[in-house]
């Protein structure tokens, strides 16, 4: 498993190494596919819309409800469908069962931090576009790590809305 060489030595890298080996056991699960009633509703709705008019779907993973609201507001206004998860594990379940075109993940969260989430997404969905976000100070090291793990873009949370939407649009159009 060579990709791990890019991770600097830290407790995070230990967690990452452990997760690589746990991936098949942690994200299998057909039982996850049956759970989330809200998500089922979204999927049903999607199924009824002709393929040509289905908007691109962005999944926002962040434990802070206020930040999810901000991102959802901006992206819905920009014409995207937005799914939300409050932690990495819930986000990965959504990725497993819904069509997601781009993932925005916070880097510091309970139940799978961003590093773990990106690593697993890269392992299981290598073509999915990923944007890593984090708080404004003292968090650059997390964004650098996200960059090394294969995030397509990294942003600090305080960036102006236009930059966030522009980054998403640019990545989506390159899909």
């Amino acid at each position: 498993m060579t990709p791990v060489n890019t991770v600097t030595s830290s407790s995070t890298s230990v967690a990452v190494l452990r997760l690589i080996w746990l991936v098949p056991r942690q994200i299998p699960a057909d039982e996850h596919l049956r759970r989330d009633a809200m998500q089922s509703a979204v999927l049903s709705e999607t199924a009824q819309i002709p393929r040509a008019v289905v908007p691109r779907t962005i999944l926002v993973i962040d434990d802070d409800e206020d930040y999810r609201l901000l991102v959802r507001t901006l992206l819905v206004r920009a014409g995207y469908r937005v799914l939300e998860a409050s932690n990495g594990l819930a986000g990965l379940r959504l990725v497993a069962k819904a069509r997601v075109d781009l993932l925005i993940t916070d880097m510091i969260m309970p139940e799978h931090e961003g590093v773990e989430t990106i690593l697993i997404v890269r392992h299981m969905h290598p073509r999915l576009k990923v944007v890593a976000i984090s708080g404004v100070t003292g968090c650059r090291e997390y964004l650098d790590m996200a960059d090394r793990l294969g995030a397509n873009a990294t942003l600090e949370k305080g960036v102006v809305p236009k930059l966030l939407v522009g980054t998403v649009r640019s990545l989506i159009e390159s899909c």
Binding site: D66, L70, T73, L74, V136, T137, K157, G158
Partner: protein
């Protein structure tokens, strides 16, 4: 009640509908943070401060990010005295903010 000089904050374009609600939530959060401080629950204060740091400037409030950053550090150090001062600063700032459209 003393008069306070207002601080004008321009709402970021596209977020005008949600910024007032965000501001109200922060005001409502202050008493909760004071209760947490009284209970020495520094971990929950740290989480709230981290979120304040992350969302403040995104919603157009650079000052909230600055206060949140300081509170997060103080909570990590379990520094109750500094936290109390920072919460006072937060409360005073929130009291003075006036929103303007289109930032």
């Amino acid at each position: 009640m003393k008069d306070v000089e207002p601080i004008s904050v321009k709402m970021p374009e596209g977020l005008e509908e949600i910024v007032p609600g965000y501001l109200d939530s922060r005001k409502e959060e202050v008493p909760t943070l004071l209760r947490l401080l009284a209970a020495s629950d520094f971990e929950r204060i740290r989480i709230a401060a981290h979120n304040l740091k992350g969302t403040g400037s995104a919603y157009g409030f650079e000052k909230l990010t600055e206060i949140g950053d300081g509170m997060e550090r103080s909570a990590r150090e379990a520094n109750a005295g500094t936290l109390r001062e920072q919460l006072n600063t937060l409360e005073e700032y929130l009291e003075r903010v006036e929103l303007e459209p289109g930032g």
